[in-house]
């Protein structure tokens, strides 16, 4: 038995390289195609599992959800659903599934597929990172625990109707139904592919997987039966992986590549923006992102709100932004500017080291104190953390820097009493969906406080929590304005408690070839990074 194992491994080591030559992959520029480059391999394309910025948008082009967004915006619209109704108590959503939409396999989508998809996400066997979003559906816990065969909250009254009941109202639920995890997949294809479904995905989307060579390229081809007429524009998209950003940049200039998946390489950024010809190819926009430092509110001396406020005043955000070539705007609050509930009036804590020192003295730390700052060890995060460290030192707070692999930092953050300060960069927080409650429940809520939490500030304010619950009960469309106002109030309260030091909101710079075009804002679509693949067009034909 053991000998056989060795033989297998030996054979693997010897034969595999010889069998895959891999040299000389040409790429022609066909008229109606485009090429996108990435440095890292594309991981799974299973809608229930894919959860990184890279595969997120690709999956959106392969599968569809009941809800979606108008391209280039954060406006929620029915998609695979024809229409929907919300019960007066805000707990039951009834969707009418659009008729005649076909999976890539040719079968029509029905309400039962929606039910299957949701149950699949909730099933622990699937190991979906999105399961938590759907844990508000009635009966989901019993199902996940194996105590129930079905999720009682999801029912299928007829072939084209699916009804979903929640334990309590959630005004963001329609956003949740627009997440990739709820993108509809056909049971028979999932079962046929088994664990390989992520590499042989089937959905209803505008594109289908044509070819996937691990570590080299993924080719998507147009779905001729896509249910939206005239979409997609392109016949084919090729994703080249293993391409360093600076190589991709040169290739784009030579016309071999259309979109830089990883963005403009840092060293070339200033050159590009200063070049009148090149900067025309760069689209600039906002994204739903906040970079922040969490302050562990349960650890001494951060239990004192004066100390937390002092830290907020100690950081020179403009200087930090300069380190990343001004590719961001200073943050005053938790929510990013694109998010409903963002407070334009709110000024936050101004940079004022003198005031910070005074506050520290009042709190009993005239000479500061020692603490630790955790950060991810991939560039530019250690640099940003060092800048934060220097600013803290200037007011007497000596923070030892702990740069570690992201998994280690995440573990430390979720362990009670472990990490006093954490710089979030490289690990969190691009919003899952454009609703302000996405910035509350997973990372600031009392409800999230358990071992393994992402609430690294270990922050809990029951008063605030109650307000968020109230806001989440405001499900009617005509309440949107009032809800946004409520969230402005909520996040002002949060900032007054100062569990975070918001540092900046990154901006997006998407560089694309001159021959591509589409809707205004297409290249900085807030939902799709780097671009909405269904909506890109080749110009001039």
């Amino acid at each position: 038995m053991k000998a056989r194992l060795l033989v297998v491994l030996v054979a693997a080591a010897l034969l595999i390289p010889a069998a895959t030559p891999g040299w000389g992959q040409g790429y022609g520029q066909n008229v109606n195609t485009m090429t996108v480059t990435f440095k890292d391999d594309i991981s799974t394309l299973d809608p229930a599992i894919g959860y990184d910025w890279q595969n997120w948008s690709i999956i959106k082009s392969i599968a569809d959800g009941l809800m979606d967004y108008d391209p280039g915006t954060t406006n929620l619209v029915p998609h695979l659903a024809e229409s929907y109704t919300i019960s007066s108590d805000g707990k039951t959503y009834t969707f009418k599934v659009r008729r005649g939409v076909k999976f890539h396999t040719g079968r029509e989508v029905t309400a039962a597929d929606v039910q299957y998809t949701l149950e699949r996400v909730l099933n622990p066997k699937t190991q979906s990172p999105g399961a938590g979003f759907y844990s508000g559906i009635a009966g989901s816990k019993a199902f996940a625990d194996g105590k129930a065969k079905t999720v009682t909250g999801v029912t299928v009254p007829d072939r084209y109707t699916v009804s979903i009941t929640l334990d309590k109202p959630n005004a963001a639920f329609l956003h949740v139904m627009a997440l990739n995890f709820a993108h509809v997949v056909p049971k028979e294809a999932v079962e046929k592919a088994g664990a390989d479904f992520g590499h042989k995905p089937v959905g209803t989307g505008a594109f289908m997987v044509k070819e996937w060579v691990l570590g080299q390229r993924l080719v998507l081809v147009r779905n001729p039966n896509y249910f939206i007429k005239g979409r997609p524009y392109l016949n084919q998209i090729t994703f080249q992986v293993g391409v360093e950003p600076n190589v991709a940049f040169l290739k784009l200039q030579r016309g071999e590549v259309d979109i830089l998946g990883d963005g403009i390489p840092p060293a070339d950024f200033l050159k590009v923006m200063a070049d009148a010809k090149l900067n025309k190819l760069v689209a600039v926009g906002d994204q739903l992102q906040t970079g922040y430092v969490t302050i562990n509110t349960q650890l001494q001396p951060f239990t004192d709100v004066r100390v937390r406020r002092a830290l907020n005043m100690a950081i020179n955000k403009t200087r930090i932004i300069r380190i990343i070539n001004n590719r961001a705007v200073p943050a005053t609050q938790v929510l990013p500017p694109l998010m409903p509930g963002y407070d334009k009036e709110y000024r936050g804590y101004a940079y004022d080291p003198a005031q910070a020192k005074k506050l520290l003295a009042e709190a009993g730390y005239p000479n500061g104190f020692s603490t630790a700052l955790f950060a991810n060890n991939t560039d530019p995060n250690p640099r940003i953390a060092q800048a934060i460290q220097q600013d803290l030192a200037a007011v007497g707070v000596k923070a030892e820097l702990k740069t570690q692999a992201q998994s280690t930092v995440i573990e430390a953050g979720g362990t009670k009493g472990q990490a006093p300060l954490i710089w979030s960069g490289g690990m969190a927080w691009i919003a899952d969906y454009p609703d302000p409650n996405d910035y509350y429940w997973p990372i600031l809520a009392c409800a999230a406080l358990a071992p393994g939490t992402w609430n690294w500030a270990w922050y809990c304010n029951q008063g605030v929590e109650k307000m968020v619950e109230e806001a989440d009960a405001m499900v009617r469309a005509d309440q949107a304005g009032a809800r946004a106002a409520k969230f402005r109030e909520i996040y002002r309260k949060v900032m007054s408690d100062a569990p975070w030091i918001p540092i900046f909101h990154e901006k997006r710079y998407t560089m694309h070839s001159a021959r591509l075009g589409g809707l205004p804002g297409l290249f900085v679509d807030p939902i799709h990074i780097p671009v909405h693949y269904d909506e890109v067009r080749v110009l001039g034909r």
């Binding site: 693997a12 891999g22 999105g130 060579v213 998994s407 393994g452």
Partner: protein, 301 residues
């Protein structure tokens, strides 16, 4: 057969040690999979699904059981079979190693041989200086400087990446430069020693041509230690590829390992370590098997 068993035993040891190390990591793979919206229960369920809640010994036994069937498991992050992942990466690393070894030999051997036969000439001095520099230069520094000069300032070679033989050139130099230095020094001293041996003098006295003396007698003996070194190179290179692949964006198993460590993708890390260990053992085995073929004085029983 004895060697084979020994090899298997070593592999088992390596796998046990790696397993222990990975579970000592202060990180939880289930949490990495579960994502930030996950509740405590979701994480616990995933831990159960992966069998991570079992005692370590049970987990290891299961791992071995699967391994015996040739199953290396599935990547936590990508959900692909580890063997598929490795297969997609091994070719790149294999070519890189071949390139590195070729570079070492093509530069190191001739330089050492000629330096040895022209002792204290200008050429000899140049080679020795070059060899010392090569041995002392870290691979990533060489790599970055090569990229700067030969790919950026004077764009002869591609700026990193993978795909054509041209892509292979600079990474091979970065990987092989230290070895080249060693070989040059080794060959030089071996040549110096051999040249003064009796049988070379005899051959010379018999009137054999200088070239013939060199190739037939001196070279053959001087090459012996080189064979062993090439085998050992596999071991050194397995570490080197992590760095070189990172510098050049080379999609090999070094980068795979690096990324997997970042997110505690245990099956992938185990796979890479095992494949590396196999490569190292094969390298040693190769050295031991070829050595007696070249040296008639040694015969293994």
């Amino acid at each position: 057969m004895r060697r084979l068993l020994q090899g298997v035993a070593i592999l088992l040891g390596v796998s046990v040690l790696t397993f222990l190390l990975l579970f000592a990591l202060p990180a939880d793979p289930a949490r990495m999979i579960a994502g930030r919206s996950a509740t405590v229960e979701t994480v616990a369920r995933i831990r159960g699904e992966l069998g991570l809640d079992r005692p370590l010994a049970v987990q290891y036994a299961r791992y071995l059981g699967r391994l015996a069937r040739g199953d290396l498991g599935r990547s936590y992050a990508q959900k692909v079979e580890v063997s598929t992942l490795l297969r997609s990466r091994l070719a790149a690393t294999f070519w890189l190693m071949v390139g590195g070894i070729l570079f070492e030999l093509l530069i190191g051997l001739p330089a050492g041989i000629f330096a040895g036969t022209r002792r204290r000439s200008g050429f000899d001095r140049t080679v020795m200086v070059g060899a010392f520099l090569g041995v002392s230069a870290p691979q990533f520094v060489v790599g970055l400087l090569l990229l700067y000069v030969l790919a950026y300032k004077i764009p002869i070679f591609p700026l990193g990446g993978y795909g054509t033989p041209a892509h292979l050139f600079l990474p091979s130099i970065a990987l092989g430069i230290a070895g080249g230095g060693w070989y040059a020094r080794m060959m030089r001293s071996a040549m110096l020693e051999v040249i003064h041996q009796d049988y070379i003098r005899t051959a010379r006295a018999k009137g054999a041509g200088e070239r013939r003396v060199l190739t037939r007698h001196a070279l053959r003996n001087a090459l012996l230690p080189v064979v062993t070194m090439i085998g050992l190179d596999f071991g050194t290179f397995m570490g080197g590829v992590v760095v070189v692949e990172s510098v050049f964006g080379w999609p090999g198993i070094g980068q795979l390992a690096w990324q997997a460590i970042q997110i505690v993708d245990i099956p992938v890390i185990m796979g890479v370590v095992l494949v590396s260990a196999v490569a190292i053992l094969l390298g040693n085995l190769m050295a031991d098997l070829i050595y007696p073929l070249l040296d008639p004085k040694i015969r293994y029983g």
